[in-house]
């Protein structure tokens, strides 16, 4: 099919709607947030228009640096966990009978219908001492007495991985289904065990998809603010939790906005770095 570049203004017509949506729901709020981040906070009140760097200056402290570092670490850990579990899972899923695939995909899609609050409380119940899975372990004789698994870093990780897992599978699934199954068979005839074939053929052939999945889950996990509060200790709180705290409970909109802007910039920089690294390896 021959495609010609748009000639007249009307040719750009199909782009107007998405452009409008993007402007109304992303550009305008984000611009507002950037503007607010430079405003002056009024003690006990709201804020007044100004152009000060106080909000950013306050942010440059060891405390916030640690929180930012932990947020990024948590997001990366969740992304890696999702991909590490998701690739073998989706690979096996894509090789199973159609009926089994449909059941799994419907189950995974139904997780998406659960809100973060429900996921959080479900896991806090599962990890509790009185009604949690440790009671099952005691019954099975694996533990002496039930104990609480929450609040802890493990609990936060588990719930966040659980929440992001359906997205991981949905992004990996089309690529794995399209992957020529004879590639692994060819690797096996060439002397690679099934496991070796998986790591030397399937994983490298999917490098771009894996990178895209990592970035997507990373961004998704960076925005999580409910699960760290429900299942973690204060040291497991992410920057998103602090932003919520500042914006809603402390009524410090300018400071919350500054943190949000900073978080966006840092994550954009990391995504850019990941893409750049991916391209470098491709060029090689």
């Amino acid at each position: 099919m021959r495609r010609e570049p748009p000639q007249r203004l009307a040719d750009y017509g199909p782009l107007f709607f998405p452009a409008g949506m993007l402007t109304v729901f992303f550009v305008v709020p984000f611009a507002t947030m950037i503007a607010v981040s430079f405003f002056q906070r009024e003690q006990g009140g709201f804020y007044t228009a100004a152009f000060v760097f106080d909000n950013y200056a306050r942010f440059l402290s060891l405390f916030f640096g640690k929180v930012l570092g932990f947020s990024l670490f948590l997001a990366v850990a969740v992304a890696v966990a999702c991909v590490v579990i998701g690739i073998p899972f989706t690979y096996l899923l894509s090789r199973s009978p159609r009926k089994i695939q449909i059941v799994w995909l419907v189950a995974l899609l139904s997780i998406l219908s659960l809100s973060e609050v429900m996921i959080g409380f479900a896991w806090s119940t599962l990890f509790s001492r009185t009604a949690g899975i440790t009671n099952l372990f005691v019954w099975l004789g694996l533990m002496v007495q039930p104990q609480a698994l929450t609040p802890s870093f493990g609990a936060v990780m588990t719930a966040m991985t659980y929440q992001a897992f359906p997205y991981t599978v949905l992004v990996l699934y089309p690529a794995l289904v399209r992957l020529d199954p004879t590639l692994t068979e060819a690797a096996r005839t060439l002397g690679a065990s099934p496991v070796k074939a998986f790591f030397t053929v399937v994983v490298p052939a999917l490098r771009n998809t894996i990178l895209a999945t990592l970035i997507m889950v990373f961004i998704f996990a960076l925005g999580s603010y409910l699960l760290p509060q429900l299942l973690g200790r204060p040291q497991h709180w992410t920057l998103s939790v602090l932003i919520t705290d500042q914006a809603i409970y402390q009524s410090n909109m300018p400071f919350a906005a500054a943190m949000a802007v900073f978080l966006v910039l840092v994550s954009l920089a990391l995504v850019g770095l990941a893409l750049y690294a991916g391209q470098q390896r491709q060029a090689k």
Partner: protein
């Protein structure tokens, strides 16, 4: 016993029998073509030889050892897939070196072998190219080189040339056969193209319905088909009903043909006559009476279609022996007993 030996190999998928009790002996260094229509079980048989599918019955021996349940990666074989299955994330050189890398061959030995193989497939200096930028024929050669990198005991090719255009395919058939003869490697090719099988194979194995119908040299398959399926599948043939008359002589389409005998105790059969063995003469004098219905002049050969006793008979002649007939004309058809084969009906 060396070579590849299949005995009573059977593969069932649920209630469907893909391969039924196949026994076949392939001596070392021979080139075998598994030939048959799609769904005849030839690919399944090859996959079992490769270990990609496990037989539900029977056993497979290679070089005296039972390999029926040995995993694919320990069978030391080379296989070219129909899709070629070149690894998209590796260069030409890395693709070819894959089996060596998996076995932990030193880097410089890998490089030496890759250069050797690239020279063999007439693509020297292609090591650093991306496989995506190769032409169909080049991809084909790379797939062959990759399969041969470890000098395998057994070289398997599943419809290897089906993606190529007709001219290139014929050239590759000759090249593949010459390569196999030079290396002396036991080779099995799955194909549905009988010209391909005739060009390359020492032994053609004709399969249908999961069973071997005949395994023999190409010329024997063509000249002495074992049954009507083989006769019809290999090349063009006239399958004409033969009946024994009251005196016990064989008659074809109402005329007694001297020199043809039905097996003792049978009254009916089918006579397979290749179109080039059908002779046209004047009607009468003991020739089968026929009427010309169509003439196809292909330039290199002339096909004359005739109707005789309710059956269609095709004769093929070279241009210099062009029969002097026209559509609608009555002709006499003569069959040569020496080149005709009586088959069970």
């Amino acid at each position: 016993m060396s070579g590849l030996n299949l005995s009573h190999v059977t593969k069932q998928f649920g209630n469907f029998t893909a391969v039924n009790d196949v026994s076949l002996s392939v001596p070392d260094g021979t080139f075998v073509c598994l030939l048959g229509p799609s769904g005849c079980g030839k690919t399944t048989l090859m996959r079992m030889i490769a270990g990609l599918d496990l037989p539900t019955g029977g056993s497979i021996e290679l070089g005296g050892a039972d390999i029926t349940t040995v995993p694919t990666h320990r069978r030391e074989l080379g296989m070219v897939f129909q899709s070629l299955a070149l690894f998209p994330h590796l260069t030409v050189g890395e693709n070819i070196a894959y089996s060596l890398r998996i076995r932990g061959t030193p880097k410089d030995a890998q490089k030496k072998r890759v250069d050797e193989l690239l020279a063999m497939i007439h693509l020297p200096g292609f090591a650093d190219r991306s496989v995506a930028k190769l032409s169909g024929g080049q991809r084909q050669r790379v797939a062959i080189a990759r399969a041969l990198a470890i000098s395998p005991k057994l070289f398997l090719l599943d419809e290897p040339l089906s993606a190529l255009d007709a001219k290139l395919r014929e050239a590759m058939q000759v090249e593949l056969r010459q390569l196999q003869q030079r290396l002396g490697i036991t080779t099995i090719v799955v194909t549905h193209d009988q010209r391909e099988a005739m060009t390359m194979a020492d032994t053609v194995v004709v399969m249908n319905g999961g069973e071997i119908r005949q395994a023999a040299a190409p010329v024997d398959i063509y000249r002495r088909p074992a049954d009507s399926f083989v006769a019809d599948f290999i090349g063009q043939t006239n399958l004409l009903p033969v009946e024994a008359d009251s005196a016990g002589r064989a008659s074809v389409l109402g005329e007694v043909v001297e020199g043809i005998a039905l097996p003792a105790g049978t009254a009916k059969g089918l006579l397979s006559v290749r179109p080039e063995d059908v002779q046209l003469t004047a009607p009468g004098h003991g020739a089968i009476a026929g009427t010309v219905t169509f003439i196809r002049d292909l330039g290199g050969a002339i096909e004359t279609f005739m109707e005789a006793g309710g059956a269609q008979v095709i004769a093929v002649s070279a241009p210099r022996n062009r029969p002097d007939v026209s559509v609608g004309q009555s002709v006499g058809i003569r069959l040569d007993p020496a080149t005709s084969v009586v088959l069970a009906r």
